[in-house]
């Protein structure tokens, strides 16, 4: 999948622009604060239906404008072209179009563009709390399997309901038998979604690890294997996962034995849950380990040096692209924002080498030195200055 052209207007500080991109490497240069990330953000918006840095839609509209508009021409891997557009205005209005036709449901458009985004903050995938890793695996699995997303959404809804119920129970008088039956019903519904979510996470970790390891070896020039391992909170899940067997999509949902075990495990601690007033187990407490040197190697979450952590994070995130390609035959567009500034010379060179072999990639950098003498085939370079985007001719040098 590639972005062939883009038209932008009213997006943050960016001037109106019509751009035609390279199918390979696109380099975006400019000093800090000139608008490089804004450009990548505009191009990536459709992948998530929101800003990758979590900004509110309204904040994306240029200070002196009331609406923004972005039109992308996409090329799918089979060669089909797709014209996607989105517009946002200050009163919360939103319009989405595919091939000139308005689409009502956000989900009809969002996700049509597959991307992988890396920026300096991505290092928290390894170093930060478990929520980051759960989100990462959830997003990766959801783009591979829509049923996973449905289970995850339902799980989160049921969890909120159960949390509400436990809060109620802690406050008010409790009709014991009925409260337990009610909780058991919520546990059964939770288990119905928690089981496939857990198996999906296990599957994703197993799918991702060999790709991440490969990339990591190339990037860090090491022989130490990198592993991404699922660490479920539920013991029934841990048992099911370690007893192995490739779950596969078909077995993931409708695994009644596991659903029953999960629901029994939840029922078992219901007394403490009522006492504490919140759910005490479930996939919402899962984590993933990132280890260097095999399954018993160094736990990078706590012991990784900054350099090790960075390489591992890059490898994991880039591996998402291979996983998506393997399972869905889709090659996502890659965004690498300010990524070289985080790496030493050798790793920068290695990543550049990899980037030239990758699918379409957008690289933003404030340090021309990082990319001096780098001329991958089909390179297109852009300069961003106070929001104005101009292209740097192929022989113009990266000064």
């Amino acid at each position: 999948m590639r972005i062939v052209t883009a038209r932008l207007s009213g997006f943050r500080n960016l001037s109106e622009a019509a751009l035609a991109f390279s199918p390979g490497v696109n380099l975006v240069q400019g000093r800090n604060g000139e608008g490089k990330t804004n450009l990548l953000e505009a191009l990536n918006w459709l992948a998530l239906g929101r800003s990758h840095r979590g900004s509110r839609n309204e904040d994306l509209i240029a200070f002196d404008r009331d609406e923004l508009h972005v039109a992308l021409e996409l090329e799918e891997d089979a060669g089909a072209r797709l014209a996607c557009e989105f517009g946002l205005d200050r009163s919360g209005g939103r319009r989405l179009r595919i091939d000139g036709e308005a689409v009502r449901r956000r989900t009809d458009l969002v996700g049509r563009l597959a991307t992988v985004f890396f920026d300096p903050d991505s290092i928290r995938l390894v170093q930060g709390g478990p929520e980051r890793r759960r989100q990462f695996a959830d997003q990766g699995m959801a783009e591979i399997d829509p049923a996973y997303l449905a289970h995850l959404t339902a799980f989160q809804r049921a969890l909120k309901q159960k949390t509400g119920l436990l809060r109620d129970l802690r406050r008010g008088a409790v009709n014991g038998a009925q409260a337990r039956r009610e909780l058991a019903a919520w546990n059964a519904e939770l288990a119905h979604h928690a089981a496939p979510v857990s198996l999906g996470r296990a599957e994703y970790a197993a799918l991702l690890t060999p790709f991440a390891d490969r990339i990591h070896r190339d990037l860090a020039g090491t022989d130490q294997p990198l592993v991404f391992t699922y660490r479920p909170r539920l013991e029934s899940v841990a048992r099911a996962v370690s007893s192995g067997g490739d779950a596969g999509v078909e077995n993931r949902s409708g695994n009644h034995a596991l659903e029953q075990d999960v629901s029994a495990e939840m029922d078992y601690i219901v007394g403490s849950e009522i006492q504490r007033g919140r759910p005490l187990t479930g996939p919402q407490l899962d984590d993933f380990e990132v280890r260097l040197g095999g399954p018993d190697g160094l736990d990078l979450r706590t012991f990784g040096s900054r350099g090790e952590t960075r390489s591992a994070a890059i490898a994991l995130i880039l591996a998402r692209s291979d996983a998506l390609d393997r399972r869905r035959g889709v090659r996502p567009v890659l965004f690498l924002d300010d990524i070289f500034s985080e790496l030493d010379r050798e790793r920068t060179r290695r990543l550049q080498e990899m980037a030239s072999r990758l699918h379409q990639v957008f690289i933003a950098t404030a340090r021309p030195g990082d990319i001096a003498d780098w001329r991958p085939e089909g390179l297109k370079a852009w300069r961003v200055e106070a929001g104005r985007i101009t292209d740097i001719p192929a022989d113009g040098g990266a000064d």
């Binding site: 919360g92 209005g93 939103r94 829509p146 049921a158 309901q161 039956r181 019903a185 949902s253």
Partner: protein, 208 residues
């Protein structure tokens, strides 16, 4: 192409009374501000059906009630479905709301009776098990010696959980507990079926 917007509340009319009417109408289910405005203008026009409508609303409110036995909308209590000799009282269909009875009755294939729960378990909306008539459901099952209980609730998290609650409630009783199947709509194109529905339909595929 129209922008999707939140209804703005600056009155665009030169009449606060009309503005009030539009707001009232737009609170009705399925009506946005735009259609509410169209209806309001129609209602205040010279040839307005408003008086007739007011009468009809009053009469309906006075006469329509919920069946004390099943909860369906009716003028006679108990309702015709509950009193009909031709309806099998040992076949009981549990639905969430009185409107859920309508599609069954319109289709006309169902020969059993109903039990309207009046809601679904949803602690976040303040609906707990004591807020739903599960006691009456149990009494009904006993009284009518129900042989099959069909659960026809929404395929949402709340609908599923309510179904699971009923299942637990009836555990150990001699009756068959069933629920509606999900799958590809008849006349629906396979190509436009959402992935989740398709996966369910696949999971519950059947032999010829």
């Amino acid at each position: 192409m129209a922008w999707e917007r939140e209804a703005n509340d600056g009155g665009e009319f030169q009449s606060p009374a009309l503005e009030r009417l539009v707001r009232g109408l737009s609170r009705l289910p399925g009506l946005g501000r735009k259609s509410a405005t169209r209806i309001a203008l129609h209602l205040v026009a010279r040839e307005s059906p408003a008086d007739e409508l007011l009468g009809a609303i009053g009469a309906a409110r006075a006469q329509v009630t919920n069946c004390g036995n099943c909860g369906a909308i009716t003028e006679a209590d108990p309702c015709r479905i509950c009193t009909s000799e031709r309806r099998d009282q040992t076949l009981l269909c549990v639905v969430a709301s009185p409107v859920d009875v309508l599609p069954f009755e319109k289709a006309g294939f169902y020969r059993g009776r109903y039990f309207v729960l009046g809601g679904l378990l949803s602690p976040l909306d303040g609906v707990r098990a004591d807020d739903l008539p599960f006691d009456r459901l149990l009494a009904r099952v006993e009284r009518d010696q129900v042989a099959e209980l069909i659960i026809a609730l929404d395929a949402s998290v709340e609908g599923e959980t309510t179904a699971l609650y009923v299942q637990r409630l009836l555990q150990g009783r001699h009756l068959q507990l069933t629920r509606l199947a999900t799958g590809i709509p008849v006349g629906g194109a396979l190509a436009y079926t959402d992935e989740v529905t398709l996966q369910r339909a696949y999971q519950f595929r059947r032999g010829f």
